[in-house]
Symmetry: C2
């Protein structure tokens, strides 16, 4: 980022079915069949683009999400959905969550490069390592792989995908019709990677993506996750419920990035926030309460049990978390999410039912219930105080919650000069102010053309 | 198919870069950068849809195609490209080639289901088992897997993907907002497949596709390939250079399909044809000659050597195929393609250079050089004589060759009542007149709702 330009806030529209709140599909105007209804997604994508959001953001995991009994349990494969949405939009970035544990680098590098091409440089990859047992069972693993194992694979996965994206130099294609010479084979690189997890010859069979590499996003906040982010991530999606926690994370990740030899300004930190907006605090609270009362407690109980890798029968709705959970056992799955839940439950002395109610809408993310001014003030304070470079906006109900944010909060942020009035760039990297990565195989023009 | 409706011809537009002829990119109006130019593909897709083709068809393999020196060596990942094209079209089918050897069933079943959803039931999967050594080297295999091994994996792959597509019964989603009950878990099927190649729990996290299963296409013509097709394929793409060969294949595959317990009318046989069209035979010949003269012999030599799994130095351009190739060794790759080349070379006593010239445009497919009437007559003779249910149209140059076919050949076929004037159905299955498969997990409504 230039040091002379004012620092700008970055906002993603994190979209999920009828909204991020687990009961959003039950609202009178909730689209219960949102997941497989392309019109729903096109409407949301165009809405977010009209408001000049940096990107759309989609979560994912390759397994049914729960049993389906209480909440929509599936979703379109996100790179496929974003490819379709790329044709209904022209500027907004498109970030898909894809697992490095349950994909292989050649196919995934190729798909991401292809989406970057058809979208004109708008693709982003939110790299996750897939902690769940349900996911493992769809890929022949008897048990979920551990943290260290998943991140070791992810690290090598990134090494290979970057080499694949770099394997066509930008001058590789000559297209000399008269001479019948299409490409310079010396600029198409076979690199013969042989590692612990992958053996990949290369080159990729797709020309280098418009962004050089699709934008790399990361969402794990464990120690392994933060070290991985420091090495690879250009944007980080994270969950914090207090300014102090967010600021600690922000300082930590920027320091780790610098320690890894990278410019900390080239890592955009984006906490998730779940805004419940009303023209008064009471109106905002009523919106949150309406959703809270539509929640099925059994669903939340199962979700909390899954996070703590325990059986739902170990929990009682009207008692505190049991001691063995308060002792914070080491988990193989979402460690940072589990730690956050325990902290919240202890700090506020919550029963399991109360904990479920507090985390339902945002699955642990920061819920902001208030007026547009209150929400804009908090965003500003986090941004200016050094706790965030922007936010993943997780509307509890869609499209209404996103519409409210656009109509009432964005004008305040624009009034402060914090958020763009129009897109200035064409690619996701340009929206975030991030550079196109250098090509590791770049050879000098003189040497190659001679 | 209904026995009362007249039998209709099916036509796919098989698209490839600037055309199927290896030198098409060198034509004065050839788009040398076609592969990664979305506008090129949108133009072709809309052209084919305006002419009411059944489907677009895209080939693929997960490796660079050659060295890139003489011909564009890459392409967008085809499911990604077809997803983008689904948003620029509304009726035409979308068939992507994807390897069962270098994918895994959960992710691929999900992607295909997702494309079927976003396209409104237009997805088709051309199942290939990827014979090449270059592909193997991108997925950690020291050597290419053999025929039998690839087809055994493909067979189990299909078993799993069909179970995944069936894993949501059509009545699974209740979406009862008042009761807070989203789906009936008894209608979301975990099937716990444990096989030789795959262990997959299920269910899929995508609702059953609009077509039930995306349409299954197959393109291998070896013995293993034909047996696989008889069990699974709903359309077959095949290469024959004579009516007799095509008719033999047609009878054989229909008999194998019946023997596998399936209705032979539910397998659509589509040979590839490469039409060089002119208002006179001389004009058609001139178009073919222009392309032939743009060919780089070195490229063809390498291609022929690769098919016969030998070194290019074993071949001489101005001599016949060497004896060890005429002896027709058993190959691990494209056996049927190699056999076809040997037959052609022997029948017409061709040198390697002449063989390359004969196969360049269609890579072994049937080249038709002539007037629109001649091409339409041949199509009609094959269709009515029992050698084809339709064709994969492989224009040597794009868009010009496809435009010529649409403008001059289709009106003749329509005049004979063989080809549709308008789409009658909405899905690819409806275009082909094929049924939606029954759901293997379907339980009676009475039992499930009680």
């Amino acid at each position: 980022m230039s040091t002379t330009a004012p620092r700008r806030l970055h906002l993603n529209a994190f979209l999920m079915e009828a909204g991020h709140h687990e009961a959003s599909w039950r609202l009178p105007d909730g689209n219960a069949r949102a997941d497989f209804d392309l019109k729903h997604w096109i409407e949301l994508a165009r809405l977010a683009e009209s408001a000049k959001f940096d990107a759309l953001f989609l979560a994912d995991g390759p397994a049914l999400n729960g049993t389906g009994e209480f909440r929509p349990p599936g979703q379109l494969e996100p790179l496929t959905l974003l490819t379709a949405l790329s044709q209904a939009t022209s500027r907004i970035g498109l970030i898909a969550t894809v697992s490095s544990t349950y994909n292989d680098p050649y196919n995934l590098a190729r798909r991401l490069a292809s989406v970057d091409h058809v979208s004109g440089g708008r693709a982003g990859w939110n790299i996750v390592t897939s902690a769940g047992a349900a996911e493992a069972a769809n890929f022949g693993l008897a048990d979920r792989p551990g943290h260290a194992q998943r991140y070791a694979r992810a690290d090598e996965f990134l090494q290979v995908t970057k080499a694949l994206w770099d394997s066509w130099e930008s001058e590789a294609v000559v297209a000399d019709k008269a001479a019948g010479r299409y490409a310079d084979p010396a600029r198409l690189h076979r690199f013969d990677h042989r590692g612990r997890h992958f053996t990949v010859a290369g080159p990729l069979n797709v020309e280098r993506p418009p962004q050089g590499h699709p934008l790399l996003v990361q969402a794990g906040s464990s120690e392994d996750g933060k070290d991985f982010a420091a090495r690879h991530a250009e944007a980080i999606f994270t969950a914090h419920r207090t300014y102090e926690r967010a600021a600690d994370f922000y300082r930590d990740i920027k320091a780790r990035t610098a320690a890894a030899g990278r410019d900390p300004d080239n890592v955009i930190v984006l906490p998730g926030i779940v805004p419940y907006l009303g023209s008064t605090e009471a109106e905002a609270r009523a919106i949150a309460t309406e959703l809270d009362e539509l929640r099925v407690p059994e669903y939340g109980l199962r979700q909390v049990a899954a996070i703590f890798e325990t059986d739902p029968s170990a929990l009682e709705l009207d008692r505190p978390l049991p001691d063995f959970i308060l002792a914070r056992p080491k988990l193989e799955g979402s460690q940072s999410r589990a730690d956050l839940f325990v902290e919240l439950a202890v700090r506020e002395q919550l029963t399991v039912r109360q904990l479920i109610s507090r985390i339902g809408g945002g699955r642990g993310h920061f819920e902001l219930v208030g007026t547009p001014d209150q929400v804009a003030d908090t965003i500003t304070a986090w941004f200016e105080g050094g706790a965030a470079d922007g936010f993943n906006i997780m509307a509890p109900a869609l499209p209404s919650g996103l519409e409210a944010f656009i109509e009432h909060v964005l004008p305040i942020l624009r009034g402060k000069g914090l958020f763009r009035e129009e897109y200035e760039g064409a690619t996701l990297r340009e929206h975030y102010g991030l550079p196109v990565p250098a090509n590791q195989f770049h050879s000098s023009t003189a040497a190659a053309i001679a």
